[in-house]
Symmetry: C2
Subunit: 148 residues, 2 copies
């Protein structure tokens, strides 16, 4: 389990993969983003995308689930304060196989209100063709080995 | 149904409300963010939060579901390219009643690659005490009445 002191700018971490299904896209869409291009394959043809695509929030949630199961295991867990520059440069399609690469972009030595360390983590989600479907810089609070 | 030309900087839009339950928090947590403070009320007591809290991605997805059902009904749907400055300044707790206020922050008159208009929309999610639980500026592509 990693602490703030174990991280260095440039460190990279990987995650397992997940293949997203039509059923998952539609189920998430119906619950959280009920628009035709996320819920109805036929109606989706008339949309900007021309086919069924995953909600960006589904991509974000799936990326989180991969990161939690990835090889960056943080003591005290992944506490996110938010994100900067969350972008979805291309849509996620049924059958896409996703994985995330995380990279430590910045370490802030000034302790947070809770005494934790602040880390900017660039998290890129790739599809099976190696193309980026989500690019995000997350702001995390990470426990210190030596409390301050 | 609104088009890009119908929007002006400063326009505000509202959404219905949703009260989040413990069951919803745990179900989302198990699927997308399996960490004790999102999935186990007892174990959550030992976490930074001291209790069960919603995943930030759950707050984001719920906010999207409220926006889709809100009074900003866009022709062609809400096509998000991403977000800037996504922040979760305080946790969402079981029983919190959430709603979103959207405000047009910026209109970009240069057409996108798809001919749509670009809009920056500030989306603040409030709890029942009027406190902000999510503050996000989203980048949207919105259909024009007059195609370019």
């Amino acid at each position: 389990m990693l602490y703030f002191e174990d991280l260095a700018v440039g460190d990279k971490f990987n995650t397992p993969e997940h293949t997203i299904t039509t059923e998952e896209i539609v189920a998430f869409g119906r619950q959280f983003d009920p628009q035709a291009f996320h819920t109805e394959a036929t109606d989706a043809k008339a949309s900007l995308f021309g086919q069924l695509v995953a909600s960006g929030w589904h991509t974000a949630a799936l990326s989180m689930s991969l990161m939690v199961r990835g090889d960056m295991q943080l003591n005290g867990g992944v506490i996110g304060q938010g994100a900067e520059e969350l972008r979805w440069p291309r849509p996620v399609l049924p059958g896409d196989r996703l994985r995330v690469i995380m990279e430590v972009a910045e370490l802030d030595s000034v302790p947070s209100r809770t005494g934790r360390g602040r880390v900017k983590l660039r998290c890129r989600t790739f599809n099976q063709e190696g193309k980026i479907v989500q690019d995000m810089t997350a702001n995390l609070l990470i426990a210190r080995r030596t409390p301050v």
